[in-house]
Amino acid sequence: MPEIRDVRDEPPPFLGTWRRVYTAVLVYLALIITACYLFTRAWQ
């Protein structure tokens, strides 16, 4: 059975490094939880 081919790594299409992308995702999570909390409070 032929071997699986090598795949290359590459930088993300935005923010330059993957570390920055991960940080952005975690900041986004904090914002979205805050938004959900404010949504709950606003319509309680």
């Binding site: 699986i4 090598d6 993300p12 999570l29 959900c36």
Partner: protein, 570 residues
């Protein structure tokens, strides 16, 4: 369903399957059949990952849940972005560089063959049990809605999935998933817009939100901590992170999606897309359920949403008073809702408080009438724990949405079922062929031999899922048990992968016995405690790690393993 609905349903499903098969041309080697020759772009993987996770039950059950219990379920997904970041940083590059077909193949590179075999068998047990359910659960609902026999619905969906998965492999599955997710998005957006358009003309969107919120249907975040409560901020963040780490990092049905990426970066992007899009998507689906609730503040909902049961019950004498109670409770709630909106608009604070109390009391009375009806169904039919939550959204769709749109929404449910089922069957076949057949029964055969073995394994698991689903009703409460059992295996799988990635000195034997101890701990929690299932993953994972570390410490790194460490990161 009208003729137009049938045309829309038929065309939608034909296009989805046809396009998937068209894009899968050339899947004539094992590498192409199981990994698409590592050629998939990020957006195809991203939508395929989303489609595989979102089964039909996600759409019909989640909307119903928002209708009855509010939007708390969204918290379940708060751990997903954290899990995706961890997986992108660790698992994705390691699996790609290890050049593996399955996640469990990597365990042999890192530990030994027995650890790989145990993990593969745990996966086959868990995913195999849920494969039938994936077809069975929506088939019951669709059969009631369409008036078809359950087995005909299961057979139609099952044979369609088996056909394109066997012929086109992972490429057909992925490209069909892309179409399915597009149909799902389009269908749900149109459903929400139509729903809002159908609200009373005097009711603005903020009014609708106000009424839903006053009835507790917009409770997206619960900050209190409770071990027994499935959906809180904390269970979502902690338990959810562990669950999604297990699901996306150790479950072949998901790992196989991103192993098809043409680069490590493309695989990462597909997971990052899910990290960003999943919570808003679930919020949106739950919001539809909350808006269905508001719609039914002014248009009387049926006392029972499962129409066949309602028709049967209406012929019984005992049902009449329940129906009358329900109708009068509905009238009171509608009037209370109108008075509450008027008080809200007038700016009369104390009056608004009073009207809000009356509105909530009317809601409780309506809930009590529905509970009374459910009890009556249980005593009349002998069915235990009657629950028609899954019928709420489709009941609304078939009763109130215009012709054509009904067909589209039914196509959404079919599409969601087929995408989840195809991913499961494809991954079960891959593990069967790579981790068992090629590893233990037939080494060194030709590529063509393994390609045919993969196809036959796909047919086997597809047929198994159809047969299991076809006997679903006869299995009765076992089906419920099986659903729970599915959540009992992830913790130990996650634990062994955490050992593999982060504890370099731990060897095979320690990992193997750690997994066994982790499973024992989860089963103990399941049988002897009331802890919510989301915490099982945390418990299992921690026990696997502690046990393996204890064994390693007690025996010394040389005796606790056997083989030398072959870390794919090196």
């Amino acid at each position: 369903m009208t003729g137009l609905d049938w045309v829309v349903l038929f065309i939608t499903l034909t296009v989805i399957v046809g396009y998937g098969l068209y894009r899968s041309r050339g899947s004539n080697t094992v590498d192409r059949f199981l990994l698409a020759g590592k050629t998939m772009p990020w957006y195809a993987m991203a939508l395929s990952i989303m489609a595989t996770q979102a089964s039909a039950v996600t759409f019909i059950s989640t909307t119903g849940q928002a209708y009855t219990d509010g939007m708390r379920f969204v918290q379940f997904y708060f751990g997903l972005p954290i899990a995706m970041v961890i997986l992108c940083a660790t698992v994705v590059p390691v699996f790609h560089r290890a050049k593996v077909f399955t996640a469990y193949e990597y365990l042999e590179q890192r530990f030994d063959s027995k650890t790989r075999a145990l993990a593969s068998i745990i996966f086959l047990c868990q995913r195999g049990l849920s494969a039938g359910l994936t077809l069975y659960a929506p088939a019951i609902v669709l059969s009631v809605i369409l008036g078809w026999p359950e087995r005909a619905t299961i057979f139609l969906m099952g044979v369609t999935v088996i056909t394109y998965t066997t012929l086109g492999g992972v490429k057909a599955v992925t490209w069909s998933d892309v179409q399915q997710m597009i149909i799902i998005f389009v269908g749900l957006v149109i459903a929400l817009v139509t729903l809002i358009h159908m609200m009373p003309a005097s009711l603005s969107l903020p009014d609708a939100l106000y009424l839903a919120g006053a009835a507790g249907r917009l409770n997206a975040v619960t900050t209190t901590f409770n071990w027994d409560d499935r959906f809180t901020l904390w269970s979502g963040l902690i338990g959810g992170t562990f669950l999604f780490l297990s699901y996306f990092g150790c479950d072949q049905s998901q790992v196989q999606r991103y192993l098809t990426g043409k680069s490590i970066g493309q695989s990462r992007e597909s997971l990052i897309f899910n990290a960003v899009a999943k919570i808003p998507m679930q919020f949106f689906i739950l919001f539809i359920g909350a808006m269905v609730f508001v719609f039914h503040l002014f248009v009387a909902p049926p006392v029972l949403f499962e129409r066949a049961v309602l028709d049967r019950m209406q012929h019984t004498a005992a049902f009449q008073p329940v129906q009358e109670h329900y109708q009068s409770a509905f009238d009171r709630r509608r009037e209370a809702a109108q008075r509450l909106i008027e008080a809200h608009h007038s700016g009369d604070g104390p009056g608004e408080q009073q009207q809000a109390s009356s509105y909530r009391a009317a809601q409780r009375d309506l809930d009590a009438a529905r509970k009374e009806a459910s009890k009556l169904v249980e005593s009349t039919t002998g069915e235990k724990d009657f629950d028609d939550t899954n019928y709420i959204f489709l009941s609304f769709v078939t009763r109130y949405l215009p012709a054509g749109l009904v067909g589209l929404i039914i196509a959404v449910i079919f599409a969601a079922t087929m995408s989840a089922s195809a991913g499961e069957i494809n991954s079960l076949a891959t593990v069967t062929m790579i981790d068992l057949y090629r590893r233990y029964f037939r080494k060194g055969a030709t590529d063509h031999h393994y390609l045919m073995a993969s196809r036959w394994a796909t047919v086997f698991w597809g047929a198994y899922a159809v047969i299991f689903a076809g006997w679903g009703r006869k299995l009765g409460s076992l089906i419920v048990a099986v659903n729970v059992v599915g959540s009992l295996f992830y913790g130990s799988l996650l634990g062994v992968f955490v050992l593999a990635f982060f504890f370099r000195h731990v060897r095979g034997t320690a990992a193997f016995f750690g997994m066994l101890a982790g499973e024992a701990a989860i089963f103990w929690a399941f049988f002897f405690t009331g802890i919510s299932f989301l915490w099982y993953n945390v418990i299992g994972c921690v026990v696997v790690i502690l046990t393996a570390l204890t064994i390693t410490h007690g025996m010394g790194p040389q005796k606790a393993g056997g083989e030398a460490i072959t870390d794919a990161r090196a």
